[in-house]
Subunit: 450 residues, 2 copies
């Protein structure tokens, strides 16, 4: 099978660009409209995307001085939303973000296994540690836990969830009405986990789901984050502005995975790309400028503050001057470094910085014709920069529709993207293996040795 | 408006009777089948039920010695399941159980507000403290917290969730594209909660939902449970075998509510009823005997153990002898007392006890014609025994279909039950008031005083 580009669709109902909601085509209430999310899911499925992706923050992303300009102030809990979208779609995967710091593994395992059952095998879990002070204050803390502690807890949380997803072997259910045997007691297992952060007996009270394990997704960029991703992720969402940094990341992750005995082909690296697609370059540029013109100054400042976990507050600084030095905090370190890099490399003022970041919030913005955009994606895909991309349409639904109608056909013409879904589950469409139940594997190994 | 009977439908996909899954009409895989739950939801809506109700346990209910006979070994996380059923229905409410002991209020508030948005105002939260040792061991504990502590935490958990549901006033969103003002900052509020168990800053990152607050439901029977219910519940699910105990409960709760300054008409008391409906008495009895004959001895013993929070293990006792003394534990105290009462009043052996309990797991079993069953419901409804009922069909879907086709029309003929849905939201159908946002109320009071 020829290697194909994998595509995720990053579709908060509010649009990705900070000023999207002010665009005439974008429903201003999109973030809180279930009907609009259902429309987006159907549109992504029409485009044969692998998955609909939702981030999650566990706090209102107020920023510093928004004065009410933030369309992301309220949304949906992602798993609840995706469960409702599942019966309205047939093939689209659903990758929901959930926190290892502020949820318990038994609850995490249950809700994703339930989503996987409901969607008949289309669930994915984007594992995050949740890096904001605002979230910590919603969960009994005054300040968030140190970065390294969050990552240690995350690794153990994922381990417990995976143990719980192996509670039932694939053939645990017998359901024989005559004998009254519903399940095979020896094929149902306790997790019996006792670690530094969690003590979980099990078994899970949700049966093994169609994918065995929902797909594990991560977005860590720091050293801790890369280590966790290389050890446990099957899809990695990442943010790069240039092919060379994407390649460095790609090679590092694949090497780490190989070092841990994993098949590097089973970790798909998908940078974020925010596309402005025009039938001509001028039309694409016009779409970009249109949205830039809609950004209010205070919203630009709030955006930078929000992206850096609340640590970089530029209120009162000269917007047409350079970015001041950052101080070290427990906020999102990889985002802080990325923001600094973008400003330095482009010689941006604060205003230029937020205008650029506003379009994709740290991700790669491409502005051009379908051929130009396909050229860029192809270059990254064929040169160890990406296995696929998370597409972040700047505004909705038009930004998504442009991509589906114009870029997808160009990728298909080049043989780089599917023309129909290959499988039933997200795992099958992504070309990822079915995870053999650990207890079944152990028994098989024992029997082979006898 | 004439007072009408309210009806909830208690529809675990496995059926309520312990041996339901062995019945030829019951899909053996119903508990883990999303398609079957969708069929049940549509059937309940055809019957004009107020709500679909799901219990939840946070552990596998193994019981003592099931040997694989328990069809409730695995199911769905209720909110995830209901979110998926919401777009497939229009009027049916969804009351999902969630634990105040093993979830965080920020997460609870989010998932129910999301469900309320997705269902356009049809969500309810059945507040439970989760009374099993097995659940405690899935959440980092060796033993569960004492009963009184769980209830104190529950009261505070509900308080925090309600504060969070008032984060956004009804008119908080402006979404004015011209000015760039998305929301009115003074109409968005922090919870600023700091109590004995929780410290939660807020605001919630989900907007105010169609019902303002999803409907609060409880099922506490102990003194602590009744106190919490009288203070905070809008619907109370309860278990009674006789009208006189139902009346004692009904009058006690209404008096407690009145004492707390609440309108007793805004607390609906709904005992559970498990109906075997036949066109003749003989046909109804035949349906009952059919299911009783399918109970295995070890499953009967496991049932009693499970219902009493694991504290009453009858393994090794003479099944045709009397119930031994119960020892005091931190398990479900009200259930222990109820089991004892059923055995004593009927002079049941252990076998007779589990056969009786197996049909409705502690709830009231009625066996008869539509007229007989309607007579009983009417008697309770008109004599301070009930404001409505939770119907627990013994097996599915036939037990539900019998009730919809035979009993509902009899209740409608008597003018006791709706012939179409009155409102759009669960709250409207139940005749419960819309909860005014506390911040809007405070401002209105201030303005009135000026």
């Amino acid at each position: 099978m020829t290697r194909k580009i994998r595509l995720g669709a990053f579709l908060p109902g509010s649009g990705q660009h900070i000023a999207a909601w002010r665009h005439p085509d974008q429903p201003a209430d999109g973030a809180t409209s279930f009907a609009f999310h259902a429309e987006l899911a159907r549109e992504a499925e029409r485009g044969l995307f692998d998955a609909y992706f939702l981030a999650d923050g566990l706090a209102v992303a107020f920023g510093g001085s928004t004065e009410g300009g933030n369309a992301k102030v309220a949304g949906f809990e992602p798993v609840t939303l995706f469960a409702a979208l599942a019966p309205l779609t047939r093939n689209l995967g659903f990758i929901a973000t959930a926190s290892t710091t502020y949820e318990e593994p038994y609850n995490t395992a249950r809700k994703f296994a339930s989503l996987d059952l409901i969607s008949d095998g289309r669930a994915g879990w984007n594992v995050v540690t949740t890096a904001t002070e605002a979230a910590a204050r919603n969960f009994n803390l005054d300040r968030q836990l140190p970065h390294a502690d969050r990552y240690k807890r995350a690794a153990e949380h994922v381990e417990v969830v995976r143990k719980l997803w192996d509670s039932f072997e694939d053939d645990a259910f017998i359901r024989d009405k005559d004998s009254g045997v519903f399940y095979h007691p020896e094929r149902v297992h306790h997790a019996d986990h006792a670690g530094e952060h969690f003590k979980v007996k099990g078994p899970l009270n949700v049966s093994r789901s169609p994918q065995g394990h929902p797909v594990i997704v991560q977005a860590g960029q720091s050293d801790d984050g890369r280590g966790l991703a290389a050890a446990t992720a099957e899809v990695i969402f990442t943010a790069h502005q240039r092919l060379d940094t994407a390649q460095e990341f790609y090679r590092d992750i694949k090497a780490r995975a190989r070092g841990l005995g994993r098949d590097p082909g089973h970790i798909l690296i998908m940078p974020g790309v925010s596309p402005f697609v025009g039938r001509s370059e001028a039309e694409a540029r016009e779409k970009y400028d249109r949205l830039t013109s809609l950004i209010l100054e205070e919203d630009g400042i709030a955006l930078i503050k929000g992206l850096t976990g609340g640590s970089l507050d530029l209120t009162g600084h000269d917007l047409d001057g350079p970015l001041p030095e950052l101080e070290h905090t427990e906020g999102n370190q990889s985002r802080q470094a990325l923001i600094r890099q973008i400003a330095d490399e482009n010689g941006f003022t604060i205003r230029q910085l937020y205008q650029w970041v506003a379009s994709a919030r740290g991700h790669f913005t491409v502005v051009g014709t379908p051929v130009q955009i396909a050229d860029t994606l192809q270059e990254w895909f064929e040169n160890e920069g990406a296995d696929g991309f998370n597409i972040l349409p700047p505004w909705l639904p038009a930004g998504l529709t442009d991509f589906v109608d114009l870029v997808i056909p160009e990728l298909q013409r080049r043989g780089l993207f599917r023309t129909e879904y290959e499988g039933r589950t997200l795992r099958q469409n992504l070309g990822l293996p079915y995870p053999v139940n650990r207890h079944a594997a152990a028994r098989a190994a024992l029997q082979a040795a006898e």
